[in-house]
Amino acid sequence: MKHRIILILVLPMLIAVPASAVDGIPGDANGDDVLTFSEYNAAVLSYLDAVYMGGAGNLDRNDIQDAAWVYIHRDGKPLVVTDSSGRTLTLYRPLRRVVTFSGEALETLRSVGFDMEKVVAVDKFSHEKTTFFPECLDKSDIGSIWSPDMERVVSLKPDAVFLYASISTSACDDIQRRLEASSPGIRVFRFDCFKPATYPEEIRKIAMIIDEPRQGEEFASFYESTMNWIRNGTAEIPTDERVRVYFEYWTAYKTVAAGSGYNEKIEIAGGLNPFAGESGEYPLIDPEAVIVADPQVIVKLAGQGLTVGGYARHDPEALAEIRSALLERPGWSRISAVKDGRVYVIHSDILGGAQHFIGTAYLAKWFYPDRFADLDPRAIHQRYLSEFQGIDFDLASEGSFVYPG
């Protein structure tokens, strides 16, 4: 009876204070945030003593594994990382249980070689992408940043959670606040993972967090080599020689303006968007204005929901149908892009998100076929999937991303 009362009293305390709450490297006996060789040795011995000889050591198996990890990968020192929100976080242990609210962060984790077994829960959109994230099918679904299942997140006892840094900030801030209040010691990382300007740095930081700097460097270089190829190839084109591009969003006559991610990619690829100066990121345009602007290239975004193409389906016919519907629009036969056959359909899977460099490569190739004769976006895409994502996906027979391709 007495034991039971003690148990009832102690249990809530155990739940309230998870192991990770106690900051500091396990085994760091003098608490100076450096795990020396002798401290590490002492910790291992004390653990063995406790397990096999009935000694009084207070480190468990996870602690010892974490100590070994920190000693080997981080020279026995805590890891200090500044995320994209500018917050500096200190990691005393390796990540064991990760929750991602951002599919882009999840994808980047996979790119830099994170053991996906350690991801315990993902957002609902990644959960639904069964072809691209097959391993997420049996992971927990924690909803989206707009309607997060906080109970589930907290009950999974993650030691790190990934959120967006600069979009939906109020929703992400709120999730972060609630997590930090309910789970002391939790590390909330804020990374975007879809912006060309910050992505390379984010790749390296995420690789550092998971102690895979080599893989991170390799992937960041691969990403940078593609983007720099495009940037260098278009840098010296004067404004009046740039290709005029009309980019259309999912909805008819909804285009993109300065400030939107798609416009940034058009600009990197050397395109000139006649509607870049409109207000708002996705302005709706008078159909007449498109004819008057007479674009030289037209790019239409496909992928309403998950119903056409992308990783989910191999249906080039559907993309072809979208293209032919564009050509049939009244008066479009007089637009240069239509006359020259330079109307393209691209799926949002490779133009938004972490794979924007693949889509941008396609844009560059479409805008300046001569300048980028050697650029092979499909090969880049395939290499990304096979080498960095490690998924068995053959672009020749699976998925539909561009048309004509």
């Binding site: 008819a252 006559y253 008078d286 929901g305």
Partner: protein, 350 residues
């Protein structure tokens, strides 16, 4: 005798007011159509725009640049006429509903017909097939659900014994139900789908085409003359079911037929435009404040008011931030509400 003369004179004056109002509206509408066809991002100017119209009508006699003809005929004309028809239809449907239900708040929106259409469209957008053929799926679904709501209201009202209060109440209940379904769909949908639904619910005449204009015009041509022909029944019904019955109007049948016609008009229009709010509610009120509530003139006059209001709103929507287009539903409210309040404050007696 004197009293008879003053009554006669009063009626004559009212008739004059009505004639003047309708004349002014017609004139205003024609003028606005004339202006609207010259508005657009392609800077055609008045001369070229009209030349293009004439060249399209009489290809042999007149000639205009190909580009101008394409822009005017393929983009502007049907849009302008569609705005006229849609505004006309929504306003007529609104007056009929307000008249039958003797409720100033009755309109396709407060009766749940518009929210039903939005639900239908959302189902098509969120759960339906892809972009290819998607447009017709959305239109069909919106139409079907709008009619479903109309029959639903009618069925409920009939079950409880038909009465104007019952119908309004049933309509409001349905509106909440359909709004909830739409919200649920938005909740489960992806962010792109969510955007498409929100966009649909803004309402706009962007998606107008000649065939769509043809359908709406045909429905109006078939229904509006009948409604005007039965205007006396509406006048009688407005005095109360008992009065109408006393005057020999088959109350229940008239209400049913008229409600269904009004619903049909609404459904046909909003399945193409999305929820253009407000016209159906405010145009009849504005008209009634000016010329009174005799349905013989109220119906065509509020139709003209609605047409004028929607066309004006659309012209502003596509020229104020050109080449950007603002959803017309937003402009309608900005334009209609102040005007409505002005009339309301200055003509309290009406």
């Amino acid at each position: 005798m004197e009293q008879y003369i003053s009554l006669y004179e009063g009626y004559a004056r009212l008739k004059r007011t009505r004639a003047a109002f309708i004349l002014a509206l017609t004139f205003g509408l024609v003028l606005l159509i004339g202006i609207a066809v010259t508005l657009g991002s392609a800077d055609l100017g008045i001369g070229k725009s009209y030349l293009a119209i004439l060249a399209g009508l009489f290809p042999g006699t007149f000639s205009a640049p190909d580009l101008a003809i394409t822009i005017v005929w393929d983009y502007r004309l049907h849009r302008v006429l569609f705005a006229v028809c849609a505004g006309f239809g929504l306003a007529v449907a609104g007056s009929v509903m307000q008249g039958i239900l003797r409720n100033p708040l009755a309109s396709p929106f407060t009766l749940g017909i518009a929210s039903a259409a939005a639900t239908g469209a959302s189902i098509a957008i969120v759960l339906g097939a892809g972009v290819a053929g998607g447009e017709y799926l959305i239109i069909g679904n919106a139409f079907l659900f709008a009619l479903l709501a109309a029959f639903g209201i009618y069925g409920m009202a009939r079950y409880r014994g038909i009465g104007s209060e019952t119908m309004v109440l049933a309509g409001i209940a349905l509106m909440y139900l359909f709004s909830a379904v739409t919200s649920l769909l938005q909740y489960v949908g992806s962010s792109e789908q969510l955007q498409a639904v929100v966009f649909w619910m803004f309402g706009s005449v962007d998606k107008s085409t000649w065939p769509k204009l043809g359908i709406v015009a045909l429905v109006l041509a078939c229904t509006v003359p009948y409604l005007i022909y039965r205007a006396w029944d509406l006048n009688a019904l407005a005095e109360g079911d008992e009065v109408a019955a006393g005057l020999g109007v088959p109350v229940e049948r008239s209400m049913t037929v008229m409600m269904l016609i009004a619903s049909l008009i609404t459904a046909v229009i909003i399945c193409f435009t999305g929820t253009i709010g407000f016209i159906g509610l405010v145009a009849p009120h504005i008209t009634r404040m000016v010329i009174g509530s005799d349905f013989r003139t109220l119906l065509p006059a509020s139709g003209l008011t609605g047409a004028l209001l929607l066309l004006a709103a659309d012209s502003i929507a596509r020229s104020i931030l050109a080449p950007q287009v603002i959803p017309v539903g937003i402009v309608t409210a900005f334009l209609g509400v102040p005007f409505f309040i002005y009339l309301f404050l200055h003509r309290r007696d009406a």
